[in-house]
């Protein structure tokens, strides 16, 4: 494939991401928003493939599309009250909000294009082929501590969710149950 084809495919995915993300925000129907999100996640995964990050692309699809989005859809469909309700999509303070957003965007884009000195890896050290193996090794050696602590984050999130969602219990006092 030549670079023109690459470019066309890239912009196609970029358009899908922006368009579906806009649908997520604008749509008043939560189901439509959820399906919009599906396309956004897929588009972002495709961009990861372009960046040679195949592991992150697959993770993106497995975790976000396969896990979170399906959960979201099940949650919405099982609670029938939400499906009918209109989402509030009106914008508060549009002018100041737009000004701040655009100025931050302009600042970031200007920096990225003109003032950034991105650190780049020399060509001979660049990875060839899959990156899964180096990621796995790094996770279990250099980054083993953060990797293990993530399990504590997940555990406290589970504990908290179980506490908030569980049925009522009797309170214990000093005298016993």
């Amino acid at each position: 494939m030549n670079s023109l084809a690459y470019q066309i495919i890239f912009y196609l995915f970029a358009a899908i991401i922006v368009g579906s993300a806009a649908l997520v925000v604008i749509s008043k129907n939560i189901i439509h928003s959820a399906f919009g999100l599906l396309f956004t996640f897929f588009g972002v995964a495709a961009i990861y493939v372009y960046l040679n990050a195949d592991f992150i692309a697959v993770t993106q699809i497995v975790v976000y599309v396969g896990g979170i989005l399906v959960l979201l859809l099940f949650g919405v469909m099982l609670t029938n009250k939400i499906t009918q309700a209109d989402l509030k999509t009106e914008t508060l303070n549009p002018v100041p909000g737009l000004l701040i957003t655009l100025s931050v965007l302009a600042m970031l884009l200007y920096t990225f294009y003109f003032r950034a000195k991105w650190v780049t890896v020399p060509v001979d050290q660049q990875l060839r082929g899959t990156v899964v193996e180096p990621i796995g090794i790094a996770t279990m050696t250099t980054y083993v501590l953060p990797f293990e602590i993530v399990s504590i984050v997940l555990m406290v999130a589970l504990l908290g969710a179980a506490y908030i969602a569980r049925a009522d219990r009797k309170v214990q006092t000093k005298e016993g149950k």
Partner: protein
């Protein structure tokens, strides 16, 4: 690996102990037992810090820092946890949420804080921050049937996640600009490659994340609603432990990076202006609050401002002043929230006017509250005065005399709303008096806090030496 576990003994103990707590709660279902075990866990952490202080160095590669700074900050978090546990049980019974989960989640939150206070790598700071925050979101929503508590948890969660987004984007841009996540190597990379605009933007986004956690203006709006809606004892924990954790992480990042920054004045000026805004907004808004929990929330914003003065000074003295301030603020603020928790009944009796004539009904409680209020106002001879003196003196030394003057003026304003409570307690006639809901451990903890606050005001030298020492080695 075994050596690393021993080097970071407080974190190792805490992680193992969490499993014990969870298994115990799962099989025994006894909140009082879990409470005592949690207290023992905190005591064990404190004991390990004193008995086996870790030597200077790194653990797990360059993931965690060990040494005096870490010992000092871990001590603050464990003390905060221990005190909050000891004032909690009666309040939880009164509010009918006396469940073991409360203590376990509080304990896990402390693990996050200890990771933040000993991190040497941005990824560890981020995960520590998340561990702490997720636990705090749950603590804010512990009163499941109370609308205000639900609101507090939801607000804290949404805004906190948003701030985390900024934090993470900042880390990503810093990685893009330097190619490193470990703080010492980031500094080295900046020294060899120079500081690019990209790095500055990354650093600013990172700072937004920190400033949200310490509730500095203009990222403070969540504070009053969350502290008022959360269970009072949980608010005591949020306002002290999590603030101390965010500040110690901030000190770690800044003390590592500032050597490599060619133009330190930019950072200094930015922090000075944020400190002024934080002190002004916190103190002036607190003047009009009648609800004591709200007032303490605004006062905690103001105190974040005083601590930011020390950060703005950017010197060893400033940072060690912030450490000392975080410790003394932990003590006196847990004390003040503790007194409120003793008197509160289902969201009533939290206004200053409810405290009218408290001295005649409960002289001890009124006396304790007066000590905490005087200390928060920064009046000598209490510990709060020494903390303020340290950070303001550091500002003067760093040629920020105007900032120190603003700080002193702000604390003069603060005297008004702290003393208002004292006047109500001692000089008004009693209304139908609130019933105190104290027990032995809670009252003992409150008295002990008051005594320590008093002692740290009269004999601050030893603790100050420890704080100075913590910074001296960390900045080397």
């Amino acid at each position: 690996m075994l050596n690393d576990l021993l080097l970071t003994l407080p974190i190792t103990i805490a992680t193992v102990w969490v499993l014990v707590l969870i298994l115990c709660e799962a099989f025994v279902h006894n909140a009082n037992l879990t409470r005592w075990l949690t207290a023992i866990g905190f005591a064990g952490i404190i004991a390990s810090i004193f008995l086996i202080p870790s030597p200077e160095g790194y653990a797990y590669g360059t993931m965690l820092r060990t040494g005096t700074f870490t010992n000092f900050s871990n001590f603050i978090f464990a003390v905060s946890g221990l005190l909050v546990v000891s004032i909690s049980d009666k309040y939880l019974e009164e509010e009918e949420i006396n469940f073991g989960e409360y203590y376990i989640i509080l304990f896990i939150s402390t693990i996050g804080m200890m990771l933040m206070g000993s991190a040497a790598n941005l990824s560890v700071i981020f995960i520590g921050l998340e561990t702490m925050s997720v636990a705090l979101y749950t603590l804010a929503g512990m009163l499941r049937k109370d609308v205000r508590s639900n609101e507090a948890a939801m607000k804290y969660f949404l805004l906190g996640s948003f701030a985390t987004g900024f934090f993470l984007y900042g880390i990503a841009l810093i990685y893009g600009a330097t190619g490193e996540l470990a703080l010492p190597r980031i500094a080295a990379s900046l020294q060899t490659n120079g500081v690019s605009t990209l790095f500055w933007i990354g650093l600013s986004l990172l700072m937004i994340g920190f400033l949200f956690k310490v509730s500095a203006v203009p990222f403070h709006q969540w504070t009053p609603d969350v502290y008022e809606g959360s269970p009072t004892t949980a608010a005591a924990f949020m306002s002290t432990g999590s603030k101390a954790a965010a500040f110690s992480s901030l000190i770690i990042v800044l003390s590592n990076i500032s050597i490599a920054l060619p133009n330190n004045a930019v950072l200094q000026t930015a922090f000075a202006y944020i400190a002024v805004a934080t002190m002004a907004v916190g103190n002036i808004t607190a003047l009009t609050q009648d609800n004591l929990k709200r007032m303490l929330a605004y006062s905690s914003i103001a105190h974040a401002g005083y601590m930011l003065v020390g950060i703005a000074a950017g010197s060893n003295e400033g940072y060690s002043g912030v450490l000392y301030y975080a410790l003394i603020y932990t003590l006196m603020n847990v004390g003040a929230f503790g007194v409120i928790a003793v008197l509160e009944r289902h969201r009533t009796l939290t206004n200053a006017s409810d405290y009218a004539g408290l001295f005649k009904q409960h002289p001890l409680l009124a006396g304790l509250m007066a000590v905490f209020m005087f200390s928060l106002a920064g009046l000598p001879p209490f510990g709060g005065f020494v903390g303020k003196y340290k950070v303001f003196a550091a500002a003067v030394e760093a040629d920020l005399t105007w900032l120190a003057i603003v700080g002193v003026l702000a604390s003069v304003v603060s005297v008004y709303y702290y003393l208002r409570v004292v006047i109500f307690m001692f000089m008004r006639d009693p209304e139908p008096a609130p019933q105190a809901n104290a027990n032995a451990t809670g009252s003992f903890a409150l008295v002990a806090i008051a005594v320590i606050v008093f002692l740290m005001g009269i004999f601050p030298t030893e603790v100050l030496k420890l704080a100075d020492n913590a910074m001296k080695v960390a900045l080397k």
